[in-house]
Symmetry: C2
Subunit: 255 residues, 2 copies
């Protein structure tokens, strides 16, 4: 019997420690195909490359593992891996392990989650997995453990189309297990740094700080991870605000 | 009394006819600040520019109208316009008029909607508005009419934080008015075109065709626009699949 095929990608690029950790964690579960960006593509959301052609370069091939780098976004990597590079339909698509969190509103900007969302649009069970540390040498032992746990559960249960998982691992010493959460309401309080180049023209660096709109809500991903839990949010692509449809009926739109 | 400030952006770039049409449509409603990408940024989703600095160049300044081009994504344009270029807080942020539709799953890839979503994260009433024709010389009369109608309703009613509107205008002769809808379940059936360059290396162009998973559902945006209605979907940034949280409780995640 053929082993399941697992397609892996990320947004930190093919050389990030996080994707190596993920490969390590899930190789025992099946054949692994890695298609990851050739360099960091953070905050690429669900962006697609439409103005230049995509290319993929095979970097490694051994028993049970094939690795490509791609010049596209994380979402491109999911698509190209699935449609062109895989020799059979993947059973699972995993994105990460991201260096840094993807809780709350970050889900809409995250390239890690962009790749996982694309997978669920294509009806393949998927998760994005992120670790709450930006340090390149962060200890990923716990993240690897849960990558494997969730991958096995995903192989077992599958997911409905248009839903994937967003898993975030705290960078804290305590071990409190997994908490099923909703996405916290929050935003990045944007602070651009404005500078002038040597010709006197302004330029701007995007910075900013995360603001949690509901710090006391214990059912949210932000609360969970800040309190030592592994958070898991089922994320869907339907963004309709259903209750607000009623409200809109009152507007005068036929003038 | 100061007139309201309207911040406009798009993803087709500063020279697209659609944003000129939008300027035209809403200038009577207030002062207009345009901050749009310096070239086309289609399918940029909520992508942010984090590896290079942003720049903005003032192209035009006259009574009630200031126009900048920016080297970033549509989401960058919203952020930079709001935080750095506007002289006061905008009352409204409008993105479009997009050349081509943004119904169904396109909401997760669309740069037009990325800019509008960013606005609602920043608690400013916003909409993305798209026209179902890719022809650069398409007749935008109807789209302009509804841009003005919705802009006035938005100024009047506002929107809850984290919700914006996704408005799509059909390119059909019939006039059936506005329909409040949910986002249709659908996907792009991806077909890459695989070619070889002159050195014999493969490259891939992204193509594909939209597949509507529920062609008979009359409460969806795709049905509405295909049947001559202007569709409006209230779109929210909370992507949690709430019902599925119960299902996840059954999984064994503590091994």
């Amino acid at each position: 019997m053929q082993r399941p095929l697992l397609l892996l990608t990320n947004d930190d690029g093919i050389n990030a420690p996080g994707i190596l950790a993920l490969m390590d964690a899930v190789r025992p579960l099946g054949d692994v195909l890695v298609v990851a960006p050739d360099s960091a593509r953070s905050a690429q959301s669900n962006a697609l490359t439409v103005t230049i052609p995509l290319r993929a370069r095979k970097l490694r091939e051994e028993e049970g593992l094939t690795v490509y780098e791609c010049n596209g976004t994380p979402t491109d990597c999911t698509k190209l891996g699935l449609m062109q590079l895989a020799d059979r339909r993947p059973s699972l698509i995993l994105s990460g392990i991201n260096h840094g969190s993807n809780t709350s509103i970050s889900v809409i900007y995250s390239g890690t989650m962009g790749a996982a969302l694309e997978a669920c649009v294509d009806d393949i069970p998927a998760m994005g997995i992120s670790h709450f540390s930006y340090r390149p040498n962060a200890d990923m032992t716990r993240a690897k453990h849960y990558a494997s746990v969730f991958a096995r559960q995903l192989l077992l249960h599958g997911l409905p189309r248009f839903t994937c998982l967003n898993v975030n691992i705290p960078d804290l010493p305590m071990e409190k297990g997994v908490k099923i959460c909703r996405q916290a309401a929050g935003y990045w309080s944007e602070e651009f740094t404005k500078r002038q180049d040597t010709a006197g023209h302004n330029y701007y660096w995007l910075g900013g700080e995360f603001v949690n709109c509901e710090p006391d809500a214990q059912d949210t991903d932000v609360w969970a991870v800040r309190n030592g839990y592994v958070s898991v949010v089922p994320v869907q692509t339907d963004m309709t605000n259903y209750p607000f449809m009623q409200e809109l009926q009152k507007w005068k739109m036929e003038e």
